[in-house]
Symmetry: C2
Subunit: 356 residues, 2 copies
Amino acid sequence: MKVNFTPGPSQLFYTVEDHVRQAFKNGIPSLSHRSKEFELIYGEVKNGLRELLGLPSDFFIFFTGSATEIWERSIQNLVEKHSSHFVNGAFSKRYFEIAGQLGKNTFKVESPNGTGFTSSGIVPEQTELIALTHNETSTGVSLPLSFINEFKTLYPQSLIVVDAVSSLPYPDFDYSKIDSVFFSVQKGFGLPAGLGVWIVNERCMAKANKISAAGGSIGTYHSLPVLLTSEKKNQTPETPNVLSIYLLSKVLQDMNRRGIQIIRKETEYKAAILYQSLEKHGLAKPFVQEKGVRSQTVIVAECRNETERISKHLAGVGLFAGGGYGENKKNQLRFANFPTHSKEQFELLVDTLNVL
Amino acid sequence: MKVNFTPGPSQLFYTVEDHVRQAFKNGIPSLSHRSKEFELIYGEVKNGLRELLGLPSDFFIFFTGSATEIWERSIQNLVEKHSSHFVNGAFSKRYFEIAGQLGKNTFKVESPNGTGFTSSGIVPEQTELIALTHNETSTGVSLPLSFINEFKTLYPQSLIVVDAVSSLPYPDFDYSKIDSVFFSVQKGFGLPAGLGVWIVNERCMAKANKISAAGGSIGTYHSLPVLLTSEKKNQTPETPNVLSIYLLSKVLQDMNRRGIQIIRKETEYKAAILYQSLEKHGLAKPFVQEKGVRSQTVIVAECRNETERISKHLAGVGLFAGGGYGENKKNQLRFANFPTHSKEQFELLVDTLNVL
């Protein structure tokens, strides 16, 4: 057995290989994106995501090439002049930088890597978009839902955009407090990389139309209005990654059959036993000190000089940890805790760690 | 047997299913795009494309989500103010429109659907980019290579960009006459959709840097300079469609083993017998009248009231023609003639047509 705990691309969801086999039988890899069959698949993704995430019906679901693309498109379509970013790691920082590269006035609330934020109440009045990275894949810090929910009341004029790349489908967001959320399929959904999913509400649509009407550039084939025109027919403006959209529809069915409550409970159980092991461990400890901001889906262990030894010890029984991110590559290990990772795999991981 | 002649997504290249099986065995669908293994795969695509297309070593090869994305990125990165477009169908028109949506001053040389162009000598002096659609997938018109090659001499100050979405790997371009060429993998290369390939030379890089230095917006993660920074490490800025890039590397090996000369000769043979059949046919005829601009890779038959009858007749023996494009949906049939379509399949197609 081999289990891949790298936080993305991670272990495939355990049904994916069967779905790929079935896809080839059914001609999905060469299916036209203008066919009725494709429209049905797009519809299944929409229904499946609404059910799994508890997403209200007034949210639209669009496809892009990656979540990186959504960083760019969201700034283009939702910000005329000013955006604010909560930055506490490499990925929230990159979202912030992209806004600057697109010529926006950006404001940054910064917190050291491995920590959360103390206050939501310091965003400039003129901010049109508040960017929150729910789960910093680089450090294993997760923003508490209560923190995310503060912004809507404090800044009713701003759009609240949540990067949930490495946390969904786990978090039980209150979608009345969020205007847009997005993810890519190679993490929690366990699919091959190459597809981003962008979820937006009517306020986002209105904003994009307003920017466009005022002569601003919101892009072309992947602007929100163009995406919506296609989405109304359950189509996409360009030829998309049809196979990946099909696989997403199938994995959503599998996950809904299992039930989101079970997926959430198991996620919390697996995170709890790993954090417990790290707390007591002689050679490693949780990188994130504050328990309230510890990620349930990407667990980072500070291992210092023991990193390589621990990594090899785990690999010896087929358990592959991810390295630390960036400068922490050789000091930390990262463990994805996604729906495809079973309780048994986490129990084996913890048992193997504990004998070191 | 079932053969899909729709011009894209088309029939898969005949080795793809085996390569997908092997990919799952080797963990490719969850391979990190920051791994050595991925870098080797990117390198194989570069070598494979250089060999197959006879591409000089001073051209760079980048990946995007689709060819539609390349329409947008090429205008963003290569045009400060002014682009010119040769428009003779739906796809060349869309490229032209995208330039307008991005706020550029656009000039259009228009020719009726189903025809080529009479003159290259009417592009405004200030044009920075000349957009040529080598093969109009909507109508089956292909620009002669001699026509494409005229522009470099006439407009040495402009960048010559060729959309070869539905023709590569067939055309034997003279790359000294072209600054950029692009395609998507679901047509001639017979792969599942979800990947665009953008090939540019140093002049394109210089232009993007110039626009950026002057304060123009060339985008963020998929600007040419950022793509190049990653490409130097055989990496991509974002998490890309790794599986598709792997499959492209494998299909390129297969095609190179076969040899581009054989692929070209077979393409011409298959096109010749189908055009010949249509010329003599009582119920259908070639839509493109002028032989010199007839596409070798997308062959369009004008069938009028007989369209449905012919389509059903072919489907009866497992041969699936594509419908006409747009308003010609019910008046025409389109036949892709890609490397995956064998001589035997085309002979069966022609024999089946001829008995009608």
